[in-house]
């Protein structure tokens, strides 16, 4: 909808300053340091970090300003018109050298054993501008002998700290975890959690990333390599649709670390725990490394030729075939996959297993978020003065988006409204947190719309939020993927579309961004992985079946062959029993995946594919930003690049992802201006596909009740008091992350989260072992209490094979009800 909006005109007051004799005109209020960088002069600094609040503690950035006797810290001093600044003269240089000498007075010289050695900012600055000799002969400050292991991923060495406090600030201001603080005074400050504990830690490792020295270190990477050993490749994180740029470092073919880079990608220097520490699945021992074919009811390893010939022989074509893909695959692979399904298998039965959504809901989502109209950079979206999030526990689902929103919302001129049953970390930044029962999203939207249209007393939270809507002029809505899973999702999305229209009528700028939980969900739709749309979201002539319909048909015996690209239907589809039964009914199932998932176990042919670190390609994140994936290592064992596999099955002649991308550029309008080679850290935003609205309303069942799923589960039920919502946890994403050892250390087993009130009523305390029962399935897990969550709602992460949450679901019943019983 980018073109529907008028660009907000901002008038900047400019200031002209002289830096080292070079004149430069910058926005008034720019820091001297930024101005100098723009002018091309590098000023060393430890404590300055662009998105963090200014501190000015390290004194490395001291500059001389003409007319001022003392040197000034450039990272906290804004420019004034006519300033004459010197950053390279002798006074400044000697001040820098002295500062470094001071820092080294207490910094231990254990660089040989420090993981940071080789990429340490202190080391670099000392080499560049440090004193060559020190006048200090006193004992160095020493807190402890052994490094402190603060968490399964973070190691701390207080001795090395230089008090830049970047860690404290990033934890507080960006991550919002507030796990770190300065303990002690003066030179004895230790930046750590209370009593060296990290209760609220997100384990995101951003403190490690920003630490200029080796005070914070990554435990999984500890003593694995030195920076110069690593071959580092920039690629994209595969865990959620935020699309963080990551840099994978390998040593001798082994992935040893993932890091972010300062000022690269939308995530800049931040990552979440799963992005930073979730790389162990790449070279997991459980990877499938050889193709397998079912012989006499058992899967047996075989050669590629054999597997492919079996597929060619057995796979049918026409309406009785189907293809289901995962949104974790690259645009190129998905494009070739839809080509395979549509052109070779000759069917439109192609879908993502978006777990709970039918094709009408997903197309309504495409419509509501105007995915066809091109991408909206998140930074543009966050300029709005009202940010509204609905249907996503964004702190858990898209942690880095959470950081971005938090940073934006710290601006007091902005309002953040979050509507979700669960409490989340971002609530602390929000003006209003709307709680509702799952399934009643439509009512929330309706309430807001009603208030805006009809007015009324702003007594309830909804009305208060609506009042904010009324006052705002630029509004950004984030629509979570949970809406897709609702039985009445079409209603909700229609309601949102109506709200948008309403707001627009009142002269407001509306931007609408989806919050997806799979890295390439948006790209997959654009590549035509949808029963209704061809690549470029062009309507197909003959509608295909969506995932649910396919399974229905399979149950009836109407599907003969199914090709599953990396999706675990049995584990993810609501109603696991039904999914298993339906799949077993299909005569010939091909699963292409990296792990032996529940679905793969019942397949007839398994093809070992590649993980994200083993292939080239592009992902399109939720904003519509196309980013490059780069191959880091060769596919493990006998597994192959997925693109190669798909091409050899379909007989396509694409040799590389680049060639496929060229084809995509021709077929998908939004990608036509993107150059595959020139995709850098910032990616490229897709443009519109040539139409703004899909106008499917005529064919979509519109109102609740007409949906075949019904709303009966919303009704109160004394026996099963809790409505169960499922989703990703902060440390997990789908079923993939449980293959990553470190993430399993962070959260090894599922838990059930209920509100404080519910806990008090049932007399269960935090951490107690309980049994969750429902739909004839029960599972034991720990209880967690979330203060401020909606009463009568329970949350279980869906990421564990040990507790298959989709067993609680029953086909066609929408949100399940469960009861929670204390374990005797």
């Amino acid at each position: 909808m980018a073109d529907e909006e008028d660009e907000v005109e901002t008038v900047f007051i400019m200031a002209t300053v002289k830096i080292n004799g070079k004149e430069i005109t910058v926005e008034d209020g720019t820091l001297i340091l930024d101005a100098a960088r723009q002018a091309g002069f590098e000023i060393p600094t430890f404590c300055y970090q662009a998105r963090l609040s200014g501190l000015g503690s390290c004194r490395m950035c001291l500059v001389e300003i003409a007319g001022q006797k003392k040197l000034q810290p450039s990272c906290v001093t804004p420019v004034l018109h006519g300033m004459d600044v010197f950053t390279e003269n002798e006074t400044v240089k000697s001040a820098r050298a002295s500062m470094l000498e001071f820092l080294l007075a207490n910094h231990p010289l254990d660089c040989p054993t420090c993981d940071k050695g080789g990429e340490c900012e202190l080391q670099n600055f000392v080499f560049k501008s440090g004193p060559r000799q020190s006048g200090f002969s006193e004992w160095k400050r020493r807190f402890h002998d052994k490094d402190k292991i603060l968490s399964p991923v973070i190691v701390k060495n207080h001795n090395r700290c230089i008090h830049c406090e970047r860690c404290v600030r990033i934890c507080d201001e960006v991550v919002g975890a507030k796990a770190l603080g300065g303990i002690g005074r003066g030179v004895m400050i230790q930046s750590t959690g209370f009593m060296d504990d990290r209760l609220d830690c997100d384990h995101c490792g951003n403190c490690i990333e920003v630490c200029p020295v080796g005070s914070f270190m990554s435990l999984p990477y500890r003593y694995k390599a030195r920076p110069w050993d690593l071959k580092e490749v920039d690629t994209v994180c595969p865990y959620c649709a935020t699309g963080c740029q990551i840099t994978i470092g390998i040593r001798n073919g082994e992935v040893v670390r993932v890091k972010s880079r300062i000022n690269t990608g939308i995530n800049k220097e931040t990552l979440c725990a799963r992005g930073r520490f979730g790389y162990h699945f790449i070279q997991s021992r459980d990877r499938i490394t050889k193709p397998m074919v079912k012989k006499d009811g058992k899967l047996a390893e075989c050669s590629w030729d054999e597997a492919l010939s079996v597929i060619k022989q057995m796979f049918g074509s026409g309406r009785r075939t189907a293809g289901i893909a995962s949104a974790r695959y690259t645009n190129e692979e998905l494009f070739v996959f839809q080509k395979l399904v549509r052109e070779v298998f000759k069917t439109n039965n192609i879908d993502l297993d978006s777990r709970f959504a039918n094709k009408w809901v997903t197309s309504a989502m495409i419509d509501a978020c105007s995915l066809a109209a091109g991408g909206i950079p998140i930074f543009d979206a966050l300029k709005a003065d009202l940010i509204f999030i609905i249907g996503s526990a964004v702190s858990d689902e898209n942690p880095v988006t959470d950081y971005l929103i938090r940073t934006a919302a710290s601006d007091r001129r902005k309002t953040l409204i979050i509507a979700h049953p669960r409490r989340m970390k971002l609530d602390s930044s929000s003006a209003i947190s709307l709680r509702y029962k799952p399934g009643t999203e439509g009512e929330v939207i309706k309430g807001i719309a009603d208030f805006i249209e009809n007015g009324g007393e702003s007594t309830s939270d909804i009305n208060a939020a609506a009042a904010r809507f009324k006052n705002a002029s630029n509004i950004t809505m984030f629509l979570g993927a949970e809406i897709l899973r609702l039985a009445n999702g079409v209603d909700v999305l229609t309601g949102i579309a109506a709200l948008k229209a309403l707001l627009k009528r009142s002269g407001k700028n509306i931007k609408c961004l989806p919050l997806f939980d799979r890295c390439n969900q948006r790209g997959a739709r654009a590549m035509g992985i949808h029963p209704l749309f061809l690549p470029g979201l062009k309507k197909v002539k003959e509608d295909g079946m969506d995932c649910g319909e396919m399974l229905d048909a399979a149950k009836k015996g109407e599907i003969d062959s199914l090709y599953v690209l990396g999706e675990d239907i049995v584990s993810m589809h609501p109603d696991a029993r039904f999914a298993r039964e339906a799949l077993s009914n299909i005569k010939f199932k091909v699963v292409q995946d990296t792990f032996l998932t529940e679905t793969a176990k019942i397949a007839d042919v398994i093809l070992p594919g590649a993980s994200y670190a083993e292939k080239d390609g592009t992902f399109t994140n939720q904003e519509g930003r196309v980013q490059r994936l780069r191959k880091v290592i060769s596919p493990v064992g006998d597994s192959k690049d997925d693109l190669d596999i798909l091409c050899s099955i379909g007989g396509f002649a694409y040799k590389s992802a680049r060639e496929v991308f060229e084809k995509i550029k021709k077929e998908v309008a939004g990608y036509k201006d993107i150059s595959f080679e020139e995709l850098d850290g910032n990616g490229a935003i897709v443009t519109g596909h040539g139409r703004q609205s899909l106008s499917l309303k005529g064919t979509v069942p519109l109102l609740s009740g007409s949906d075949n799923s019904g709303q009966q589960s919303i009704k109160e039920d004394k026996e099963y008091p809790f409505l169960l919502i499922t989703g990703n946890h902060l440390f997990h994403s789908g079923r993939l992350s449980q293959r990553a050892d470190i993430l399993m250390q962070l959260l090894p087993e599922p838990f059930v989260e209920i509100s404080e009130d519910d806990a008090r009523e049932s007399g269960i305390v935090d951490g107690e072992k309980v049994v969750v029962k429902g739909n004839g399935y029960e599972a034991a897990m720990k209880l967690r209490i979330a203060k401020g969550s909606q009463k009568g709602v329970a949350f279980v992460p869906e990421n564990f094979d040990s507790v298959s949450v989709n067993m609680f679901y029953k086909k066609g019943e929408g949100i399940p009800r469960v009861k929670i019983v204390k374990l005797p």
């Binding site: 660089c111 054993t113 500890r222 003593y223 030195r226 050993d229």
Partner: protein
């Protein structure tokens, strides 16, 4: 003078003075003592302490490994023949909790320049005086941590620059020349 020296020259030629000089010199050599060291049968040359032979990994006085696996040696190595893979160890075998999991020198590529020694911050790597590195299989071309940490035959304090009595030993692993450091003599 020129006439004089001319005559002398002719006389020298006639009486083969130069040839006789040469012959007498070689005869002197013939009867003098040889400078050959009877290596490996009876004697062995123990080089000076500054010699750059097979590397050793050293321990501190308490027997802990000095190597902290900082990889500076492998960084400094011009032939890139040193492989170091660090690991964490809390059992106290090293002076820090960072010790080498793998410390391997590819002796085929090593040119014994000693830059690793210079780069080592803990004086863990020292070039020793072991120079008998030939063997029957390529296995020994790689010196692993175990081999480098093994106690060396010639103590570091031994001054060197001597020829000592030695014994040639043959066994399955190969040939070794075992020196007897008590019986030493200067080479010349």
């Amino acid at each position: 003078m020129s006439a004089n020296s001319g005559i002398v020259d002719i006389l020298k030629k006639v009486f083969f003075i130069d040839l006789i000089k040469g012959l007498s010199l070689t005869f002197k050599y013939n009867v003098s003592k040889t400078i050959t060291i009877r290596y490996p049968d009876e004697e062995k040359w123990i080089p000076y302490q500054r010699f750059r032979g097979l590397h050793t990994l050293n321990r501190d006085s308490q027997g802990r490994e000095l190597c902290v696996a900082c990889e500076l040696c492998s960084k400094a190595c011009p032939t890139k023949c040193i492989t170091v893979i660090p690991m964490e160890d809390n059992t106290g075998i090293g002076i820090t909790d960072r010790v080498a999991q793998v410390y391997e020198i590819n002796l085929v590529r090593c040119m014994f320049c000693g830059l690793c020694e210079d780069a080592c911050p803990t004086t863990a790597v020292r070039m020793g005086r072991e120079y008998e590195l030939a063997c029957f299989s390529l296995d020994c071309a790689k010196a692993d941590k175990h081999r480098l940490l093994a106690p060396i035959e010639i103590p570091a304090e031994f001054e060197g620059g001597y020829v000592v009595k030695a014994k040639l030993e043959r066994n399955k692993e190969g040939i070794r020349v075992r020196p007897d450091l008590t019986k030493k003599k200067r080479w010349w």
